[in-house]
């Protein structure tokens, strides 16, 4: 199909996925997940392109993106440090971990370091409460984290 918007390129896999889901009712959230999987966030141009491809107004797409916590509108760092803020992690000092990471990296939560390498995010319960407090970097989960371990964890990705 011809799409006017060519400021952003979708992989063949993503395009194929969108075409497959195009006619299915309730497809928008599934498609946005796939877009975020590809880019790490949902760039404005990508939302624009999706809007054209599935014929859904951009305003509606933004309505959905901004409603759900999982969707991001800005690019996270290469390594997004997600600190669990579930109740168990909070009680065991998750907020202290965030403060410490903020001071180690010199950025606040939801910010990205100048070199684009790290960002910090406070996330909802990741579901390993037995390991509280927990933080997640990429696919890797760190459990029973203490402040002392943080410089080591960060340098692992540096």
């Amino acid at each position: 199909m011809s799409v006017k918007n060519d400021t952003i390129k979708f992989s063949d896999e993503l395009t194929k996925f969108i075409m497959e889901w195009k006619e299915k009712p309730g497809n928008l959230i599934m498609i946005l997940h796939k877009v975020q999987e590809e880019f790490g966030y949902i760039p404005r141009d990508a939302a624009d392109k999706v809007s054209e491809m599935i014929k859904v107004p951009l305003a509606k797409i933004y309505g959905v993106i901004t409603f759900y916590h999982f969707f991001k509108l800005t690019k996270p760092g290469d390594f997004n440090i997600q600190v669990c803020m579930g109740t168990a992690c909070y009680l065991k000092g998750g907020d202290g971990l965030i403060e410490e990471i903020e001071s180690l990296l010199g950025i606040k939560t939801n910010e990205v370091t100048k070199d684009g390498k790290f960002s910090i995010e406070a996330v909802r319960c990741v579901g390993c409460c037995g390991l509280a407090p927990v933080l997640v970097v990429g696919e890797e989960v760190f459990g029973k984290v203490t402040k002392d371990q943080l410089p080591g964890i960060i340098s692992k990705f540096n």
Binding site: P25, I29, H33, T87, G127
Partner: protein
């Protein structure tokens, strides 16, 4: 050749993040290296529940229970246990030193537990349908399709007395019956796997450990209510559960247990996965359905109830994961068997995620009517680090706290509501004397405010006002009239909010005000936080008779707020101190204290 040993490695998220996958791989390669690969079967199972001691490895038939296993232990486990038949004592779980050999049934954590929902977790490989079938999997579906009418199924659920495990506790048979009675050629079955309650992971473990049980139950509901399509709405944050569900669905289709003409019965049913995107309000049925439809997850007024007018306006049965997991067992063993477990008010078992300041964190399944004391002290091993029990929170952001005086209350839907809390989805968070009740309440309110969809004003504005009042109190600016204000706003929210989120959001405040009013008063009147948690109300100080002037704290202090020469008494400058607590953690002489 007959197999000599089965090695079960826990593949739940907790153990997986602590290296279970490397253990699994190392065990396979070690068995090959040591030439016993043909005699041993190594299986990665679902969650064992004893997350505190993970990663867990169990070896059959000896039933040896190895805990806190590391990937490098694989070599010794194979060379000692498998090859030489000697248990590796240093890795065995033995709380009592006298008892060398800890069988699973001897472990306090598992005594008093009774597993229906988690029946297969930790026993089977969730990625292999044959193992599920071997443990009576899909037998209930077969029985329903060939021996039971839809009315028989509903009657069995009625006799069983199963109530929804997602929070509100609505009788499941009634939901199913409503949908069954509506005449419509398109109906839907939905599984709510959007486990958003912070501090709860029962559904995650069930899906990861036993995905087929959910598929089987949903298919049964499809047959009973006349639906041919099901949706599993699951959190995108649970990638492992999603993967295992996808594998399970593929295998079930291959075996003719899902899809057209199931087992040659002429009945067809299929399931699709839909991902959530992080919105707690989607736990509310009508909001969840809006989200499956691809919209913002905002609730609708009820009635009409989803059972009559749900997904895309069609009759829809929605149950949560734990409710679904009970269904096959009930139909196989009979409603009467199930109804004998539990209390008059609540039948069966309940799975709790026991976390917080507890010695043995983990997933526990107990019959309804078990007391909190049994769960926290017998199963959970009591409070960690020798601290005092303060309260236990159930029901998450919609629930409340339960104090020491009520530890002997048998747990069921009615008794928890009577105490001002609720069953909720099953998060059970234990607090000790170091936790500030006002601060924890503020945490829950912050969560509810963040998750409010904003559609109705009692929830949107009321929640924010409550949060602001709590914030004011924790900062030392609270006034006596704030307490009445909170009660008033809370009562209005409960009455006027559109959905369960707003109606229950004030519960943490109302419950803690009831049980811990003194602690609120300490913050408001004395400007003091008894637990030493609220930063604006505490100060760090150094005890003159304990400080030896070692400079350890001064060197660690990130803002150079500690003044003092070597071998001289140190002092903390209150104007510079950011109350991070590093000095307290650093001092080996107990010279730093919080006031």
């Amino acid at each position: 050749m007959a197999l000599r040993n089965y090695i079960l490695v826990c593949g739940g998220t907790g153990c997986e993040s602590a290296g279970a996958d490397s253990i699994y791989k190392n065990l396979i390669s070690e068995c090959e290296l040591q030439g016993v690969a043909d005699e041993v079967q190594i299986i990665k199972t679902g969650c064992f529940g004893f997350c505190e001691q993970g990663p867990i490895v169990k070896i059959l038939p000896e039933d040896s229970f190895y805990v806190q296993v590391k990937p490098e232990d694989a070599k010794e486990l194979v060379s000692e246990h498998i090859v030489k038949g000697r248990e590796v004592a240093r890795l065995l779980y033995n709380k009592n030193e006298s008892k060398k050999h800890a069988k699973v049934e001897d472990i306090e954590f598992y005594q008093k537990q009774f597993r229906i929902v988690l029946r297969n977790c930790g026993f089977i490989n969730p990625e292999n349908i044959d193992e599920y079938v071997a443990r009576e999997g899909y037998a209930a579906l077969e029985k329903v399709l060939f021996e039971m009418t839809p009315d028989d199924v509903i009657n069995e659920l009625k006799v069983a007395g199963l109530r929804g495990r997602g929070g509100a506790g609505f009788p499941s048979w009634m939901k199913w019956n409503f949908t069954k009675q509506v005449e419509d050629d398109v109906k839907y079955v939905v599984c709510n796997a959007d486990e958003g309650d912070p501090g709860a992971y029962m559904d995650r473990s069930t899906l990861e450990g036993d995905p087929h049980s959910i598929l089987e139950a949903m298919t049964i509901a499809g047959y009973t209510c006349g639906a041919s399509k099901g949706y599993i709405y699951i959190r995108a944050e649970y990638p492992l559960a999603i993967k295992r569900l996808e594998i399970a669905m593929g295998q079930a289709r291959e075996y003719g247990l899902l899809g057209e003409d199931i087992l040659g019965s002429g009945f067809g049913f299929d399931i699709e996965i839909r991902l959530g995107a992080g919105a707690f309000v989607c736990g509310e049925e009508t909001a969840l359905l809006a989200s499956i439809e691809g919209e913002r997850g905002m609730p609708r007024p009820r009635p009409p109830f989803p059972a009559v007018k749900g997904l895309w306006g069609r009759p829809t049965v929605i149950n949560n994961v734990e409710t679904w997991a009970n269904i096959p067992v009930i139909l196989l063993k009979g409603g009467e068997w199930f109804s004998k477990i539990g209390t008059d008010d609540s039948k069966g078992t309940k799975v709790f995620a026991l976390t917080g300041k507890i010695r043995n964190s983990g997933l526990v399944e107990v019959p309804m009517g078990t007391t909190l004391r049994e769960i926290i002290f017998d199963i959970g091993g009591g409070i960690a680090n020798g601290r005092e029990f303060k309260a236990v929170q159930t029901g998450g952001p919609s629930g409340g706290v339960i104090t020491k005086e009520h530890l002997d209350t048998p747990i069921d839907y009615g008794s928890l509501t009577g105490l001002g809390s609720m069953m909720g989805s099953g998060g059970m968070i234990v607090m000790d004397e170091d936790d500030c009740i006002v601060d924890v309440t503020k945490f829950y309110l912050g969560f509810s405010v963040d998750e409010s969809c904003g559609k109705c004003s009692p929830c949107r504005i009321g929640g924010r006002s409550l949060y602001n009042l709590l914030d004011k109190i924790t900062k030392g600016d609270g006034e006596m009239e704030d307490i009445d204000k909170m009660k008033e706003i809370g009562a209005a929210m409960k009455k006027a909010s559109l959905c369960g989120l707003g109606q229950t959001a004030p519960n943490p405040i109302l419950s803690t005000l009831h049980y811990f009013e003194k602690e609120y008063l300490a913050h408001i009147k004395d400007k003091r936080c008894p637990a030493g948690k609220c930063k604006e109300l505490i100060s760090y100080n150094i005890l003159a008779d304990k400080c030896i002037g070692c400079t350890a704290c001064a060197r660690k202090c990130p803002v150079d707020a500690i003044i003092g020469e070597r071998r001289q008494l140190h002092r903390i400058d209150p104007d510079l101190c950011i109350k991070c607590g590093v000095c307290l953690e650093t001092c080996k002489f107990g010279a730093v204290f919080v006031r």
